[in-house]
Amino acid sequence: MKYVGIGIPNVDVLEKVLGQARYGADLPSESPLHLKVVRSTKPHAKIVEILTEEALCISGVERIFTAKDIPGRNLVGTITKDQPVLASDRVRYVGEAVALIAAENPEASEEAAKKVIVIYEDLPHVTSPEEALSIDAPLIHEKGNLLLEFHLRKGDVQTGFKEAEVIIEETYTTTWVDHAYLEPDAGLGYIDEEGRVTVICPTQNVHYDQKEIASLLSLPLEKVRIIQSTTGGGFGGRLDLTVQGFLALATFHLKRPVKLIYTPEEVFQVISKRHPLKIRYKSGAKKDGTLTAVEVDILGDTGAYASYGPTVCIRSAIHATGPYKVPNVKVRSRMVYTNNPWSGAMRGFGVPQIAFAHESQMDILARVLEIDPIEIRLRNALQVGYETATGQPLMASVGIGETLKKIRIFTEEARGGRKDESREPKIKRGIGVSSMWYGIGYTGIANPSTAQIEIHPEGEIRLFTGVADIGQGSNTIALQIASETLGLPPDEIQLIHADTGFTTDAGPTAASRQTYISGNAILRASKDLERKMIKEASRLFGIGENDLFLEEGKIKSRRAPRISIPIKEIAKRCGTVIRGEGTFDPETTPLDPETGKGVPYATYAFATHVAEVEVDMETGKVKVNRVIACHDVGKAINPKNVIGQIIGGVAMGTGFALMEEFIPGKTTSFVNYLIPTSKDVPEVIPIIVEDKEPTGPFGAKGVGECALIATAPAIINGIADAIGKRIYRLPASLERVLEAIQKRKMKSP
């Protein structure tokens, strides 16, 4: 292959390296109005009245919008539409939007925002899922505080635990984590040349945004246009609306350009978070380490609104077994509303949290049974032909065993390196292993993608995709796939992406799905174009279609090797645009509401990480020296990008393990929300395994979220190896590690 499997630089790097790429706050506009959102200071309250007179008197203020100005449905949300763009009668968290100012300059809009008086009537508020589920808890939403309860059953856990020779039961807790993407949300609204309400801003899904805005403004879809600006990261935080609703509402009413830039503190306050999960996990195993049963109870806090709460609820349950063969499984997963900050999509949708639990359990089993941590995982690893907990038989591309085998040599090497430990007695070293699996695409629901590629009589080739590239490199992968099929270099194909004015729905940049799903749509569109070019060539030159094939951008004949006509030449002779179209929807089935049975994902990615850690026994400080990260991605369309995802994922996983903790009411910005810097990140050895997925484009699956999932549990297991004590609550901060060390001292003097 010429273009697939090659680590070409991303197609948009030049403008980025020159500082020319336009992010949300960089978009030029002729004298726009400046917007500012007025936000709730109460966690739960009725809105009695919003007084705007004083604010309207400030010079430069053009207009102040409240919920009353919304002509359509003032409720948004990907799955459950329960979140108002502007609160109408009630606020449910601190930071909720209640009014929107439009003014001639940013100073005036800020001043006015301070002068808007909201009269509230406090309601009792709820700060934990346990409290939210008590019988006398105040209702956050009319239908009740339980957003969703999901069950998964396989075999009979009672029998399974009876067969077990060892049973481990523990509780694991994770907290809110911020996406901490570097670019604050910002954008521009205007009426475009075709009269459409247009919003340009960072986003992970322009077509979802378009539907929400159309319904908010009660406009037909074609009267709304969303364009993705260069996007400074996403990690799930840009799957829900951020600035879109405000920009669209103001543009709709004022019919002139409007600009909104969130302050960095506002981003921390109002963008979704990773769901805190509390996981009770019981595992049973034979003496040889074979799992006989797992029983898991998951309780999640979705905060004030549903967002991706249902997804996290179900996905964490489905992935609860880890990438292992477990004959008897019982999982209950509940997602609950509270008045805490709302949680949504964040890289992994609950799987990083559940992996912390199942991999800690696996590590405890290995220790108790005195089995090597790689060996115990290999004995349980999923294989082709096995039925997962949802009853899905795995047909192909199950590379978990391969990742474990490939990584084994590194654990041996790392153990060797531990011998010099005695030189510095206050430093203890440890090695942790962790594996993961991740279902590619949305869970048990249709999530199709579409793409088109056309060739113009002038020779121009245009590829259309709705995929939002958020830095991971999907634009480059799209071009590589089309290039490989047509046999033309990427720079001969023009890419039009993520603009609802030109591209069709590709679904979200989420669930590690774009390479697999949109990659397939692009592959199919390119193949469709290939077929059409052959047909045209056959017609033009009177040669049978069966004799013709496409190679290096030319239609060639098998029997007459002299015939070799560039497809551009064929397009010129045809005189019309020739267009190839492709759609792809992975084969899944809905899950049974009682048992969770079904086919949630068409394919799974697998990985194993090994972390080498050092713990300072006096301070509790953990240093991660090296992470070996072995990933089965099916096929790396662009190995450089795959490695980029792996290294970036390890860094984020390191933060998740050791330092990241959003504390509602306390965390305000990067000043008190610490993420890994260049001094904190470990050396990473990325290893790519390619167990090809037959339904994937060139065998590819995905890697985006997978990259981060195994890191935190590997580090936590490494800490346990070093200090002989385990951390059950993330992050493993200095204080928590020190506490664990001291407990150990007390117990075993």
Binding site: G232, G648, F670
Partner: protein
Amino acid sequence: MKKILHFILNGEPVEMEIEPHLTLLQVLRDRLEMTGTKEGCGMGECGACTVLLDGKSVNSCIYPALEVEGRNVTTIEGLMNSRGNLHPIQKAFIEHGAIQCGFCTPGMILSAKALLDENPHPTEEEIRNGIAGNICRCTGYLQIIQAIKAVSQKT
């Protein structure tokens, strides 16, 4: 009261009238419409706004504009040479996959330049320290470190 500010921006003299409270970042982005320099945190914590002041890296988001009077400011827009060639650091960032979303990139490149100008052959640890004020959420830094190393080895 507005004040007159003179400074050299990417080799060109600039004279402008500004409100004295403006930061260097506000002057660059809002007044001069040079948006290559980014605002991430606005409080000196992320390094996205890094520019060079007389060759040293500063966080322009907290740097009072009036204090650059008479001095040399370099932004990402000024890094290409006069023949339109990329700076070796820019090239290395591309070659080593050091850019994902790219929002940290302008600041990161300028911090790298300040580091290499002062210490052309830094150790890995010196590189890690040199860019420790620049946050990147996407890459995990290692390709950035490799890119900087590669430049230092070429000179």
